[in-house]
């Protein structure tokens, strides 16, 4: 034993210290220590005797409050969602509010209404800078105004100016979204919480803190830290109210809310269901899943809508239930994110997903595992056959994975692409992550550039994964994606993924429009369509089509054809908007992959303005006519934090640990007590002396 080498003096010191710890630990009731060591500063402040409920300067915090109400109306494959945000100002000052919130990555945000008393003020779509100017002007003139910006594809901000003291402003945002039929189920996802991509670390003088708050207008936040994004998360759980009116158009077998409790009410013959969830914790995404009684095995439809003198078509198709061609040998590379953001339940889910993935491998397949946090390393230098001893090594490796450190995804991807390929095998990369990165575009471009015939599949883990990254990475990797919201869903979702991994169902897909009509597709269809993945194609047609749309491809080792009649639906059903939203997404994607930025921008702007959509270059702004804030009254800017995902590092810790003990306070109280005791004692002695004199 090396400990024998330790000098005697050290050993004695050790024993003494241990004894001191034990002795005092035993005789001292732990109650006193507990307040200083409480894990949750919030709890300590609220419940403890010694700590106050106010900040140091003694003024109670009169923070701006925000409450969210979401109303979703689902008709068939399309959802119309209204998000109502109420900003309440309980303080005595005029307030400008900022709130960062997540939305579905495919949401087409097209409506903003500001509710002032009984009046509704409609928002207008403008170029981002113009909208900002309009907002700022209204703000300085004392008029109520609200602005909705897109910060990231799935992250939006609402700014509200001139909220009067002790009053509120309500903002209603509406968007259109498609409901895909994936893996035998429909899913409506309403994101409620944000996984911070980068935590803004800014060093600020306390005197400047208000400046930091009002930083919005000039983006001082970004100046203070180049890594900062506007989200500010809180470990306190906020709540949202959710209402869903579900009209799927067919009898339902099951309806399930995966993360929150809901009450359901069936209207009519089971074709319409209302769900209510009075207040749900907003620390995880709301996921509603429903399945039809009869699985639509020939699920394919094409809808057309007239918009002005143009025709927009939306094609939805389920790929055939067979594989395109048999792949005999696969090389599966698992990449697992072990960064700090994966700590808690996420890493357990990821480990479980990996174990199941390993089980599904055939002995002829080869595999490897890459873990990464701030560095990346692989289990084997070269992929190994999925046989006994290798599986055993892998299982032990998986058990040892812990979440800690940064998110160096680039290193992990480069390592995966650098590993020599198994000859005569199709390489498939399974990427297990929560995607909490800010450099999505760079990573997607990297996948696109280095894929070289491999396929990349993403597995989104946790209560609020970065859905945008999962989709984009899978699209660039010619693969598919799946989400595992909770540990119970691991086996089901991994089974779905492995069905896809086994083979694409449809390849070489082509669309043939009737009458020689030419179409502008929002995005080119994927080259591989996987079992269970819906294919959605949005197109703008030059002429009003007559006849049928023919789809051709290869499936089950032979040619595959399907003909679809075009059903013309009512105007303003939203197909044009959905096309525009997808087209904007595609233009933005091309730009990030190295396309002409100026050209993409001008196209996105004109599309967004034409279809009234919020985009990276356009925002919605609503301004009230009459000034309300008296001239000279101050306007204080406040940001309402968004809930951090449950179980994430942000939810478990505050940015700063409570780093003060109550030793000084205890000492002060103790000394005061002793002082009083002494005073009483002295008093008593004097009393005795006086009494003796009296007797004498």
């Amino acid at each position: 034993m090396k400990t024998d080498a330790m000098p005697l003096r050290h050993r004695v010191a050790n024993w003494l210290a241990l004894l001191a710890l034990l002795l005092v630990g035993v005789v001292w009731p732990p109650v006193f220590g507990a307040t200083a060591e409480s894990n949750e500063p919030g709890d300590a402040r609220a419940g403890s005797l010694f700590l106050c409920a106010m900040p140091c300067d003694g003024r109670p915090l009169q923070a701006l409050r925000q409450s969210t109400h979401i109303r979703a109306q689902v008709t068939g494959n399309v959802a119309r969602v209204h998000v109502t945000q109420k900003f309440e100002n309980p303080g005595d000052q005029w307030v400008e509010g900022l709130y960062v919130f997540p939305l579905s990555t495919t949401a087409a945000v097209d409506e903003l209404q500001m509710l002032v008393g009984e009046r509704r003020i409609r928002g207008e779509i403008k170029r981002k800078e113009e909208a900002r100017e309009t907002f700022e002007r209204a703000k300085s003139e004392g008029r109520r105004a609200s602005l909705v910006d897109q910060e990231r594809p799935d992250m939006f901000t609402t700014s509200v100016a001139n909220i009067a003291p002790h009053s509120s402003i309500t903002v209603e945002i509406a968007y259109l979204d498609t409901i895909p039929f994936r893996d035998g189920r429909y899913a409506l996802s309403l994101p409620l919480s944000i996984t911070p991509r980068y935590t803004p670390g800014v060093s600020l003088d306390p005197a400047d803190l208000n400046v930091f708050h009002s930083a919005r207008e000039g983006r001082v936040i970004a100046v203070a830290s180049p890594n900062a994004t506007p989200e500010r998360v809180t470990s306190e759980v906020q709540h949202a109210e959710i209402e869903v009116d579900l009209m799927p158009g067919f009898p339902l077998q099951t309806v399930q809310s995966l993360n929150h409790a809901v009450t359901t009410e069936t209207v009519g013959a089971g074709n319409r269901i209302r769900l209510r969830s009075p207040t749900v914790p907003a620390d995880r995404d709301f996921e509603l899943v429903w399945t039809p009684v009869v699985a639509p095995d020939t699920h394919a439809a094409a809808f057309a809508e007239r918009f002005g003198d143009e025709t927009y078509v939306l094609v939805m198709l389920m790929p055939p239930q067979m594989t395109a061609e048999r792949v005999y040998r696969r090389e599966v590379l698992f990449i697992i994110d072990t960064s700090g953001s994966m700590s808690g339940p996420s890493i357990r889910q990821a480990r479980e997903a990996l174990r199941l993935g390993l089980q599904r491998l055939q002995p002829t397949d080869t595999f490897n595992i890459i873990r990464f946090s701030n560095d990346a390393s692989s289990l084997f230098p070269i992929s190994q056959p999925a046989v006994g001893v290798n599986r055993q090594t892998a299982a032990e490796f998986i058990d040892s994975l812990e979440a800690q450190g940064g998110t160096e995804m680039r290193a992990a991807l480069n390592l995966a692409f650098d590993i020599p390929r198994t000859p005569d095998a199709l390489r498939q990369i399974v990427f297990v992550t929560d995607g909490s990165v800010g450099n999505e575009a760079e990573l997607v471009a990297l996948i696109h550039r280095r894929l070289a015939g491999a396929r990349l599949f993403t597995v989104g883990i946790g209560s609020a994964p970065n859905a945008y990254f999962m989709r984009e990475a899978a699209a660039a990797g010619r693969g598919s994606f799946t989400f595992i919201p909770q540990i119970e869903h691991v086996s089901e979702r991994m089974a779905d993924l492995f069905r896809k991994l086994e083979n694409p169902a449809l390849v070489d897909l082509q669309l043939h429009w009737p009458d020689g009509a030419t179409a502008t597709l929002a995005a080119s269809p994927p080259s591989d369509v996987y079992a269970g993945d819906p294919l959605t194609v949005a197109a703008k047609l030059s002429t009003v089509p007559r006849g049928v749309l023919t789809l051709t491809g290869r499936s089950g080792g032979g040619a595959w054809t399907r003909q679809l009649p075009l059903q013309v639906v009512a105007d303003s059903s939203g197909i044009a908007k959905l096309w525009a939203r997808e087209r904007i997404g595609e233009l933005s994607r091309q730009k990030k992959l190295g396309g002409d930025a100026a050209e993409s921008e001008s196209q996105i702007v004109s599309l967004a303005l034409k279809h009234h959509l919020v985009s990276e270059y356009t925002s919605l702004v609503a301004v009230d006519e009459t000034p309300v804030r008296p001239v000279g009254a101050d306007l204080q800017a406040q940001q309402v934090p968004t809930s951090a995902p449950r179980g994430s590092a942000w939810a478990q810790t505050t940015g700063f640990a409570p780093t003060a003990t109550n030793a000084p306070l205890l000492l002060l109280i103790g000394l005061m007590c002793l002082g009083f005791a002494l005073a009483l004692r002295v008093n008593y002695s004097r009393l005795c002396v006086n009494a003796e004199r009296h007797v004498a």
Binding site: K2, L21, W28, N39, P41, G201, G340, N374, G405, A660
Partner: protein, 213 residues
């Protein structure tokens, strides 16, 4: 009347002693734990195995920091309140010192980080890592932030060390919102050994069920 006064004074004296002892206990715990953790660190360094500071500990020392050339403190993994009572604690969401990124270490202002008050820009902080390498960080900023409005950035292009404690140092009440933040950057070439490319997660033991005080 007088017997009541005697009782009151005795009670007050008892409460006073209890409180003072409570305050002392916090300091004794902080100091005694450092002795044990320090020797656990030496043991770990000599035989290369992560060592537990006391038999029932559920955490291991991850680094040893020295500032002002005299105050040497061993850092524990995980900034829970319990760990903070024993030692400066490393935030598990952040990287370990010397790795690319920001390593965040917090400690109590009354005990371990009392001397951080004297930190100035340009001061050197020596960090010994569990893998045996020693790094030198140079203080690049000393700031006071409001913890309600600020978070520490975990990302950094170069290895960075952030030491955090409560502010003001002589405040009586705990739980205030202000934090004293010392940021230090790795001095290029000063004994920098890059992190080993190993599966660090695999090298660390799994935590055992929580036990302690």
């Amino acid at each position: 009347m007088t017997s009541k006064k005697i009782a009151a004074s005795a009670l007050l004296a008892l409460a006073g002693i209890a409180c003072v002892a409570g305050a002392c206990w916090i300091h004794i715990k902080a100091m005694a734990a450092q002795v044990l953790i320090n020797s656990a660190w030496d043991r770990a360094r000599s035989d290369g195995q992560p060592a537990k500071p006391w038999p029932w500990a559920d955490t291991t020392p991850v680094a040893r920091i020295t500032f002002h050339d005299r105050r040497t403190l061993v850092v524990l993994e995980g900034s829970s309140g319990r760990n903070l009572a024993f030692a400066p604690s490393h935030d598990p969401a952040s990287v370990l010192p010397g790795e690319s990124g920001n390593s965040v270490i917090s400690a109590h202002r009354d005990t371990h980080f009392r001397e951080l008050e004297h930190a100035r820009v340009g001061d050197r902080i020596r960090v010994e890592r569990a893998d045996g390498s020693t790094l030198l960080f140079k203080v690049s900023s000393v700031t006071i932030v409001d913890s309600r409005k600020t978070r520490v950035a975990l990302e950094s292009d170069t290895p960075r060390l952030t030491l955090v404690t409560c502010y003001p140092f002589d405040a009586i009440q705990p739980g205030g919102p202000l934090r004293f933040v010392v940021t230090a950057d790795l001095e290029a070439g000063a004994g920098y050994t890059p992190p080993r490319r190993v599966a660090r997660a695999a090298a660390l033991p799994r935590p055992v069920p929580v036990m302690g005080f």
